[in-house]
């Protein structure tokens, strides 16, 4: 997977993801990239996806709620980017029920609950969070299909 991952805000980039693919904080120079936005940065990420629909390959919204700007929200119907909304089951700030709002607003939105994670998903369940993000962005169209080998003793 050579496509870079843009993380917003850049400080939120986690080590486990950085170990697996190039992380970039400056999408302006990139032709194609995946986009991961934490919490309030979701608004900036969605504006970017609307501005450059062909450049954003897949979008992950982590512990984020839809923005308050209704004019912006109205434009989400235009989005064609495959999106994954990840919410922690113990998140008191952005509770899991927020997923329903993303599902209603975004045309191509998968919802995943990260069990036993609070608001800081990557800190609470680092491996589980990195795994689901990588699984999604590697092939968003095939996301629902288990592509791991389940053989115990080949």
């Amino acid at each position: 997977m050579s496509r870079p991952l843009v993380v917003l805000p850049p400080a939120a980039a986690c080590e486990l993801l950085a170990a697996r693919l190039p992380i970039d904080g400056n999408p302006d120079d990139l032709e194609s990239f995946d986009l991961l936005a934490h919490a309030q940065a979701a608004e900036e990420a969605l504006r970017l996806a609307l501005r450059r629909p062909l450049a954003v390959h897949a979008l992950v919204l982590a512990a984020a709620a839809p923005p308050a700007d209704l004019a912006l929200v109205a434009r989400f119907a235009e989005l064609t980017v495959p999106t994954l909304a990840v919410l922690g089951t113990r998140d008191g700030e952005v509770p899991p029920e927020t997923g329903r709002r993303w599902r209603a607003l975004l045309p191509r939105c998968h919802l995943v609950f990260l069990y036993d994670a609070g608001h800081d998903l990557a800190a609470d369940r680092p491996q589980a969070f990195a795994d689901i993000v990588l699984d999604f962005i590697s092939d968003p169209g095939a996301f629902l299909v288990n592509r791991r080998d389940g053989t115990l003793h080949p």
């Binding site: 899991p96 069990y115 036993d116 969070f129 629902l144 288990n146």
Partner: protein, 368 residues
Amino acid sequence: MKAALFSPCTYAGPTAPSGWPTPVTVYSSDLSRQTFETAIEHSRLADQVGFDWITVAEHHFGPFCMTPNPMVLAGALTQVVKRAKIALLGADIPILNPVRVAEEFAMLDLLSGGRLVAGMLRGTPNEYITYNVNPRESRRRFEEALQLIRMAWTEPEPFGWQGRYWQYKTVSIWPRPIQQPHPPIYMSGSSPESGEFAAKNRIGLGFAVTTLALATKASSHYRSQAALVGWTPRPDDIIYRVPFHVAASDDQAMEDLAAAAAASSRSFSLALSQGAEAAIAEAGYYGRDDAQRGRVAAAFSGGIRGRIENAQLLLGAPQTVIGQIRRIHAEVGAGVLDLVPALGGDKAIASIEQFGTRILPAVRELGA
């Protein structure tokens, strides 16, 4: 006080002498059929004479309780039991597929017209051997499975689950339970950990294979933990399971029990080899008050009078049993008795009838 009947589908014939798992070298299909017919007949009768719940339970690989998937029997009971609730006590959720459990519970709630009681248990220690699950993971699996089942019942959008023990990419169960937001949930356990978890998650708690003293202590811990998070369990939130036998007089009841013990030396054992038992204890299965197990075992070896004294058996004429129930209610605060017939055959039938007609009306008002 409410009454549940638990007719545990114990195999009606002789078996090879063995601990668990029990070999099937001595086995009869006819006797197994009889076992199920009897359990269904007991359930029908209990429903007719006023029992509030009919209980089914999950156990594997042995003759003691031939309902490895209690959902199947519960499905049949929904069509026979017209009035009482159908209580699953329960599904051993740590060793199962929680999404499947959520689906089956939802079907049962629908088939019973909203009469499902959804008990979710950790199960007896041997069940971890059944499906090859590490008993060390028991509590954490239980907690995750419970949250996942609740989510599957209540979340209207398809969702994925990135758990510690289970992963699903998308879940959207059909049908949904009739009871909203979901059927009442119970767990079991006398350990401090179980009481704390039940209190924190606002779910009911059941006590089985215990003593009056231990259940009283565990119940008091559950209540105080519930108070810490701002709620008060109702009597209905506490279940106490106990074998029972009712006869015309106390002496008759005692004689019945002694005669049955003399006629049959069958004792179904869930005993594991010493090595396996040690490995399960070492895995922390029993929680931080591990010594409790020894106290329960000691109480069960105390003879019939000792078992009555410890509220491990309800035995006697109706008036005597009423007194025994009042004591359980006063000390444990239990509002649901889960009653297991101590004897089989006609004695079980008569006991169920006596309980429904002579005892239940007298204890109905306790805690109501």
